[in-house]
Each structure stands twice: as structure tokens, then as C-alpha cells.
């Protein structure tokens, strides 16, 4: 499987280097580093094969995590493993993974690398479990001496519910639920919807005592079709695909589409889903570019929010592309602010808050500088970013969230919805 792992900085220096199999030499890695630094561009594929050695890498900001192998491994697995490794590191270093913290914590990283791979084969790569027996400065003396505890630990690690430790206790049982949707939209220049898709995720923060079993239900069309009392409500929505955290009992889901799970402790992503039917597109955009004269361009932009009146869109940013040779922009709008940002080659119109069912507009007068070539300017798409709390583009709703545990077990539950712009593009 994986022959070696390395962490490499921007300058191509090896920060961490761990060999799992004997078939790779350090010089091969340094050669790769030199090559990476030389090209740097984003065009290279993440997998390079040089003389039967494969270099598979991901970039986390300025750090490259590189795996090498000489065998015919499953590439997606290696990549996914590298991503999980980066998550593990981040969980140890308060969400940061940079050169500094790698250098500071290299002993700890080596310890982690020792555990996550054995002979290059992925083993335990769940941050929650690793934290139980790898800690900075070694695990607590008390645990390491108590053989009974250690046995319990190894049984948990290798067991079927490895993600949740036993014996958790909270004064108050609390469960926070976040439904976050990204809208990916592509609209053609002729105003037809080429692609509309919602990629959503349900994230949980659980502070629960014991080993409770939870069940979550959404207005999933297939599930509600199975339950008889759908006649009163509308039929629910069609979900194309769902992917679950390991804690969800997949055979049960496959059988009757109910989602049951014993949650890990703390924050985790319960599931992700994808919906492509009946998407509520939150904004209607209308834009007209008109050439006034050779060095004058006028842009008129209208936006209408098409969500409910008592819902507010926040942090809206519309990136309106302008030509490279733009010299000056005079913009006029009733709402928010518009500014020419040269690096982005666009006028960015920011609106802090926009109520539903409101139309607002922007007008930009653009003066263009002289260009040497008479090339027609091909406009990149117009991009929108936004966040709309308490709104889901797909119409997905959580109908219930049950927490089942013996005795008088009370749980406080909170729920939030958020829709934000993903790849939200209008071609011009």
C-alpha cells in the first residue's frame, strides 16, 4: 500500500517524513518536491506516476501532504486517507495545520503517523478515537498503568461502536442540529437553468449522557411515502442521494429508510445529501451590458429575492465581471455598496441584509482605457455569494429527532437552517 508519507512546505522542504515500506528512497521524494515547486500551477493532476512510483498528494493551504506507493493501490482511498489525516492533525492543533505547528509538534505527528498506518495500510483514522490514546506528552499515567482500562480502550477501538467512548456524563443533555445547504446553480446567457443542485449537510453537536440511540426524520418523499399518514401533508421532497457518518446504521436505512444512530461525542457531520429536483432558486438576476461608446460601458443589474417575506438574506455579494482595461467605475445603488476590485476584475456589490420578495438594482458606468488589441472581451460568469438563515433551497425540513435512552432522559434540542451560495453562476 502506501510506502511513505511526507509533509512538505511551500519551499519544497520535507517537514515530516515517515517510511512504511522499504521500496522508496528519500531522494525520490526530494525530486518530486523540486518538481512541485517548479510547476506550482494547478493544472497538474494530483497523481503523478514516475517510473512505477506513484506520488499522490493533496494541498492544505501551504502544506502538501504526499503519499508515495509502488503498488497498484486504490487511489481514492489514499486521497481520502490524506484528507482524514489532515483533519486529525487539525483536531490536535486547534483547527490549524501550518508549518509552524508541524515543527512544534513533530513528535506528536510521528506518534499519530505510527498509529494511522501500519505497513502503509490505513488503520485508525478517527480523531475522536486517536485522542483517547495519543495525547501530547503521552497518555495520562493513570490510564497507562491501569490494565483494565487499557483493555477497555482496545476493545472500544476495535469494536463496532468505536466512535463513542463509554461512560460519558453531562449535567444537561443537549443536541444542536445544523442543516446547511449550498446551492450550485448555472444559468445560461439566455436565462435558462442549465444546472440547479443543492448539496447539503446535517451537522450535529451532541452533549449526551450514556449511549443513547437517536433517530432523525426528514420530509423525505420516499420515507413519507412508506408511512401512511402522508395524505394531510404534502408529499415531501425527493432526495437524490444521501451519505452517512459511520455511526448511522446503513442496513437499517437501506431496509426502511429510517436513520438511526448512536452519535459520537461533540461535533460531527451526520450526513450529506444531494437534491436536484424542485430547487427554490433564491435570487432572480437580470443583467444588461451595453456599450455606450468605445470607452464607455454601462451595466444594469437587477436582483430580486424570491424567498419568503419574513426571511432575510445576509452577506450577499454579487461579483459583476468588468473588462481588464477598466479605469473607473461609477456605481449607483439604493442598497448596499458596490466597489471595483481590480484583482477580481469585477465590481463587487455587497448587501448586508436583504428581505424576501424585494427587488433592488445597481447601475455602473464604466470608463475603459485604451487597449492595443481589438479583442472582444469574453465575460466570465457572474458569481453570487450569500447566506440565508432559516431557509432551505431544497425545502428540506427535519420532522423529528428522537433521543432514546433508558430512564427519565431529557434532551434539549436546537435546530438551525442555513442556505448559502455554492457555485452560484450566471453566464453572461
Amino acid at each position: 500500500m502506501i510506502s511513505s508519507l511526507s509533509f512538505i512546505n511551500q519551499k519544497g522542504e520535507i517537514l515530516i517524513y515517515r517510511v512504511y515500506k522499504d521500496d522508496i528512497s528519500r531522494s525520490e521524494i526530494t525530486q518530486f518536491c523540486a518538481k512541485m515547486i517548479a510547476t506550482k500551477e494547478n493544472k497538474e493532476s494530483p497523481i503523478i506516476n514516475i517510473d512505477q512510483t506513484s506520488f499522490i498528494h493533496i494541498s492544505i493551504k501551504d502544506i502538501i501532504i504526499l503519499a508515495t506507493t509502488k503498488t497498484d493501490v486504490n487511489v481514492a482511498m489514499v486521497l481520502e486517507f490524506l484528507y482524514q489525516l489532515s483533519k486529525i492533525c487539525k483536531s490536535y492543533f486547534q483547527g490549524i495545520l501550518d508549518e509552524n505547528c508541524i515543527k512544534k509538534n513533530f513528535v506528536l505527528i510521528y506518534e499519530i503517523l505510527d498509529e494511522v498506518l501500519d505497513y502503509g495500510i490505513p488503520q485508525i483514522a478517527d480523531p475522536n478515537i486517536l485522542q483517547k490514546f495519543i495525547q501530547e506528552g503521552g497518555i495520562q499515567q493513570e490510564t497507562s498503568m491501569n490494565i483494565e482500562r487499557l483493555r477497555q480502550l482496545t476493545v472500544t477501538i476495535t469494536g463496532a461502536v468505536s466512535w463513542r467512548p463509554t461512560g460519558l456524563h453531562y449535567e444537561k443533555n443537549e443536541l444542536y442540529l445544523d442543516i446547511i445547504e449550498s446551492v450550485n446553480l448555472l444559468i445560461s446567457a439566455k436565462d435558462t437553468v442549465l444546472r440547479a443542485e443543492v448539496v447539503g449537510s446535517i451537522e450535529l453537536k451532541s452533549k449526551l449522557t450514556g449511549m443513547p440511540e437517536c433517530q432523525i426524520g426528514m420530509n423525505d418523499k420516499l420515507l413519507m411515502g412508506k408511512q401512511a399518514r402522508t395524505t394531510k401533508q404534502n408529499g415531501g421532497i425527493a432526495i437524490d442521494d444521501m451519505k452517512f457518518h459511520p455511526c448511522v446504521g446503513l442496513p437499517k436505512f437501506e431496509k426502511d429508510r429510517t436513520i438511526t444512530f448512536i452519535p459520537p461525542d461533540g461535533h460531527f457531520q451526520l450526513m450529506s445529501y444531494r437534491i436536484s429536483e424542485n430547487i427554490n432558486i433564491p435570487f432572480k438576476v437580470n443583467v444588461i451590458y451595453s456599450d455606450i461608446s468605445e470607452n464607455k460601458l454601462e451595466i444594469r443589474l437587477k436582483i430580486k429575492s424570491i424567498y419568503d417575506k419574513n426571511v432575510y438574506g445576509t452577506n450577499i455579494a454579487v461579483k459583476v465581471p468588468v473588462p481588464k482595461n477598466t479605469v473607473n467605475v461609477i456605481s449607483a445603488t439604493a442598497l448596499g455598496k458596490a466597489k471595483h476590485e481590480i484583482e477580481e476584475q469585477s465590481v463587487i456589490w455587497r448587501i448586508k441584509k436583504l428581505q424576501g420578495d424585494v427587488e433592488t438594482s445597481l447601475r455602473c458606468d464604466i470608463s475603459l482605457g485604451a487597449t492595443n488589441k481589438e479583442q472582444t472581451w469574453s465575460k466570465p460568469p457572474l458569481k453570487m455569494e450569500f447566506q440565508i438563515p432559516m431557509f432551505t433551497s431544497s425545502g428540506l425540513r427535519v420532522r423529528f429527532l428522537k433521543v432514546m435512552e433508558k430512564g427519565a432522559y431529557k434532551t434539549n434540542k436546537w435546530i438551525r437552517y442555513l442556505t448559502r451560495g455554492g457555485e452560484y453562476l450566471h453566464r453572461l
Binding site: 520535507i14 517524513y17 522499504d22 494547478n42 493544472k43 494530483p46 497523481i47 506516476n49 493533496i58 506507493t69 503498488t71 497498484d72 486504490n74 487511489v75 481514492a76 482511498m77 486521497l79 481520502e80 484528507y83 515543527k103 512544534k104 513533530f106 513528535v107 510521528y110 505510527d114 501500519d118 505497513y119 495500510i121 490505513p122 488503520q123 485508525i124 506528552g137 497518555i139 497507562s144 487499557l150 483493555r151 482496545t154 476493545v155 477501538i157 476495535t158 469494536g159 463496532a160 450550485n184 442549465l194 444546472r195 444521501m242 451519505k243 452517512f244 459511520p246 448511522v248 446503513l250 436505512f253 437501506e254 444531494r274 479583442q375 472582444t376 469574453s378 457555485e423 453562476l425 453566464r427
Partner: protein, 670 residues
Amino acid sequence: MAYFGNNQQRGELQELYADLNDLNFEKKKEAVKKVIAYMTVGKDVSQLFQSVIKCLEFQDIEMKKLIYLYIVNYSRQKPDDAIMVIQNFRKDVRKSENPLVRALAIRTFGCLRVPKLNEYLIEPLKDCISDDDPYVRKTAVLCVPKVFEVSPELCPPVLDQLQKLLEKESNALVLANLIQSMREIEVVNGKQLILMNPKIIQKLLLAVDECMEWGQIFILDYLATYDPADSKQAEIIIERTLPRLSHINPTVTFCAVKLILKYLDYLDNGDLVKNLCKKISPSLISLLSWNQSEIQYTILRNISLILQKFPILFENEVKVFFCSFNEPYYIKYEKLDIMVRICDSKNFTQVLNELMIYINEADPHFVRKTIKSIGKIGMMYDKALNEAVSILVEFAKNVQQATEPVQELFIQMQILYRKNRNLYKTNDSLKILFNILEYANEAEAKSACAWIVGEFAEFIPKSVEKMKEYIDNFLIEDRLVQLQLLTSGVKLYIKYPSLCSALIQQLINSAKDSFNPDVRDRTYIYWRLLSTDPEVVKNLVCSAPIGSSQFQKDVRLWETKDLIIALENMGSISNLFHKLPNQLYKNIKVRNNHQQEAKIYKADEKQEAPQKDQEIKKNDQNQQQPQQQQQQQQQQQQQQKQDFDLLNFDEPVSNNNNNTNNKMDVYDLI
């Protein structure tokens, strides 16, 4: 604690040496950490071996791990010193009550990779494989391939133990590791080691539900190489695998897809197959829009394989492959390729409209690929031809400099003209192209231009002047251009004998001195022919083109016979490079394919035998011949020929030479 020491004096090693031998524990520990830091940056600290291993006497786990790391790194350089550690390892394995320590010791022991130390390892290893603690067992089973790699002769008793464990092990994680471990040994050994039986399969399927994600991958990956005994068994395994399609780890999903796709061939029930396809499709589409572009890329690279065997899965889904503006280019390239593959007589307008947008992108490589794709689609579908040409002509209108896409434009236009000569009548394409001929600077593009000038001389103003320009620089041109100029020059001469007599003289004079023997040979042939009977030359050179029938759609990337093996290895590195494992790795043997033919799953029919339907050309003679063998042989030859077809997509690197040669032949066709 210093990571990279600033004071790079010679005394450093001595200093460390002193610290390692210090009586103070903390000082020792710091020194060990420093040693590891040096090791990381690539400094040789092997001289400290003895001092470092002396520190093993402490029971501090963190320190132990560091020292083990050090030992693993240098054991091969210092095998004699490494022997001294053996006792420590054996003590840890046998005496320690701490399962973590036992596991750590056996894990590290296996990594020493010193043949003569391994004999001390076998006994403790056996103990660990039958340890009570699952954590120790899961570590021990992975130790076996490590030992096997270095000292296979010691292993037979342990291997037996593994097979026994396979039958009785109940912990899912250990079982998953065990399967993976035995597969690693199989790769090294080249022999089958895992003996399957229905009971073990049942256990593995149970384990999939219980073990962590990587274990699920190992088991699914293994089961994908298994040939189910009958339809019933295939159905059971598929049923148990279906829930994995909803796992958050994309690789688990992908392995499940692979397994199900492979087992489809074994099912008798056509409706079930259809239903399964409906279930797999959304899962795959989610993977295709995965938010980590590296993973998305690997899935995209595998889609061509799935597309070839299971066109049904992406019926009406071409939109999934539309490029987003901000995607990395390596993703865009793949999507472009797939869009051409998925394009058919129903959706070509949709695809062409999308490609038209990409022409405006900034990256010249990408635009070039787009133009090539448009050309391909025009070639493949007669109905798409006009649309494709009008997009290209529109592009040509805006050309102002010699960019990369412009080169491709000439090449594709030439091919399209060859497909349908009458194209020149329908729009201004010739005129527009003629205006930008000067921007051709790549050999292939220039040769395309030369062909256009020769072929359409009557419809191009000043074609003779243009040809004169070319011929003036004849000797500095590439071989490809020279050959085309010869043919085009002769064509011009046939069309305008009096106007071009000086021209053809000049051409032959330059060409007979070409450094390239092919060019010289062809020059003499033309020369002789022209001097004997120009009428013959006219028939030869200016005869009507063969017509569009010679170009056929062929978007197959894989040989049909390789499909099943390729499918079993879907997701692997070799597959990523569109090869079979044995084509990329010399030491890997591919197991024999028991099935004769791969089924192709199309939307309209349930299944069909591929060979006969996919064969596009049918040789009349072939049909008359009774011997089937011969027929098959010829069909295979044809298939190979098709693979070098002009229309074929990016060939694997090894084929490149053949490919370019072949391309030239096509261009040389008169």
C-alpha cells in the same frame, strides 16, 4: 525544543551523545527527540545507534515510540547492533500486560527488515496472532506480510495460522486487516492464498457492517475480485453491499459500486439489473461532484470504463459533466473528454452549445481541447457537422494571433472538410480560414493549411501565390508539412498547369534535396508520373474523396476483452492511467479471465453481446469463410486497427509512437 538546529557545528553529534548518556531522564528524552528531528531533515545520525537503544530501558511509551522509529530507520544499516534490541522486543511482546505495548513491539519488530533477525520474530508473532486482545491481533496479522517480504522461507507455519484465523476470527476489524494482509502476501507471492468458502463470505459480509471505513474498503475491494458461484450468491452479496452506497467515505461508496457493477454480469434477473442501475447512478453522480477535487478527479478518470460497459448509468446525465468556471483544469480536461464520449445523436446540440461557451475561456490548452472535441463531435454525427463547423467558423472570425487553439482549428477544419467536401459551399469558412492562414505555426496545422490550399485552390483567391510562399520555405519545414506540400503542389499544377509550371519545378527541385528519404521518394514518384502521364496523376491526386463513411464513432478506450479485469481493478492507479495492472507494473500478473465476453449494458436493451454489435466494419469475405477462428482473428485485427483510428482519444503513452505514425498515414492519404 529546536527542530532545525541553527548551530550546525561538528560538536552536535557529540553533544547529543553526551545527552543520551546523561543520567537525567528528561535530558535523555529531549536528546532522543532531537535525534528524530535530525533524522527528519535527512541528517545521518546512525552513529548514535547504541546510545539511543540504551534508552529503551525506560518504560515511557512516548520515548519508546521515538526510539522504535529510530531503530526502524537504521536497522538495515546496523543489523549487528539491532540484534541487541531483540531481547527488548521479545520481552515487550511476551511479558507486557499493556496491549498497546505488545502491539507496538510486534509492529516495530516487523519493520526491522533484517533477514537474520526474523527467525527470532516468528515465535512471538505466532503468540500475538492468537493474543486475546483484538488490538494486538489486528497489528500482528499485518506483521506477517512484512516478514514475508524479507524472509518468505520462515513463513509457512504463520500462513497456516492466518488461514485458520480467517475461519474463526470474530472481530470485524481484525478480519478486515487479515484479508488485506493476505492479499498483500498474494501480491508478493504471486499465488492464491485466501481460500474462500460460503461461510467465510458470510462472515466478511457481516464484518462490513461492523468494521471501520478502511476495513470496509479492504473487504469490498477483495470481494470485487471474487467470482460468485451463481446468480443467487451474487444477489445475496449485492444485497448486503447496497447499504454501503450511503457511506460518507467516498471510497467505500466507490468500492461498493465497483463490486455491484462487477456482479451484475452474474445475475439472471434482468429487472433486478435495471433496478440496481437506478440505485447506483445517483450515488456515482454524488461522487462526481465531490467537493474534494482530487477525489473527484480519480472518479472522473474511472468513468470512461463505466461508460463503456454501462452506458445505461449516465443516460440523460450529460449535464453532470458540464465544467464549472472555477474548477481546476485537470478536472475540466477530464470532463471535456467524457462529454465527447457521452455525446450521442440525441444530445449533441446540448453538448455543442456547452462547448461553445468554453471557447471563451482563458487557458489555451483547454480551449484547444474544446476545439478538438467540437471537431470530434462533428466527425461522429453527420447531423452535428453543420453546427460544429459554424461554431468553429465563428471562432475563426475572431482570431487575431497565432495561439494554440488556432492550430487545432486548422487541424479540425481539415478533418471536417475531408469528411464532407461540400462544406465549403455552405458558408464562408474557406474565406475566413484563408485570411488567417498565416497564424498556422505547428507542423500539423501547417500541413492542414497546405492541404486546404491544394484541395480548394479553385475557390481560394491567390492560392497559387500562397503556395509559392510555402514552397519558398520548403526546406525548413517539418517532414509532415513537406509531404503535404508536395501533394498540394501537384494538385495545384494539375488544376492550373500553365500558371504553376515554374512553381512545380521549384517544388521538385527543393524537395528532391530534402533530408528526409520519404519526401525524396515521393518527389521522384510524382516527378516520374508527371513526366509520363499527367492524366494518371490527376486521377490519383484529384479523385473524389472517399467520403464520410470511413470515419466512424469509436469512443472505446478499453479492449472489450479487458473490460472485466479493468472493472475489478477500478479505482487503482493503473486504472487511473487507463491501463491494466500488468501493463503498468511488470511484476503483477493478472488472473485469467474466465468469462469469454463482457456484457454491455445499454438503456434500451437489457444486455447484448458486445463483439458482434460493436464491430463496425464487417468484411464480406469474412462472412463467407466458415472457420470461426479465422474470423475472430481478423476481427481482432480490425479492432486493433480501430484503436489506432484517427478519432481515438488520448492513447496510453506506450502507444504514442504507433499513434503518430498512423496519424501521418491518414494525412498522407490522397
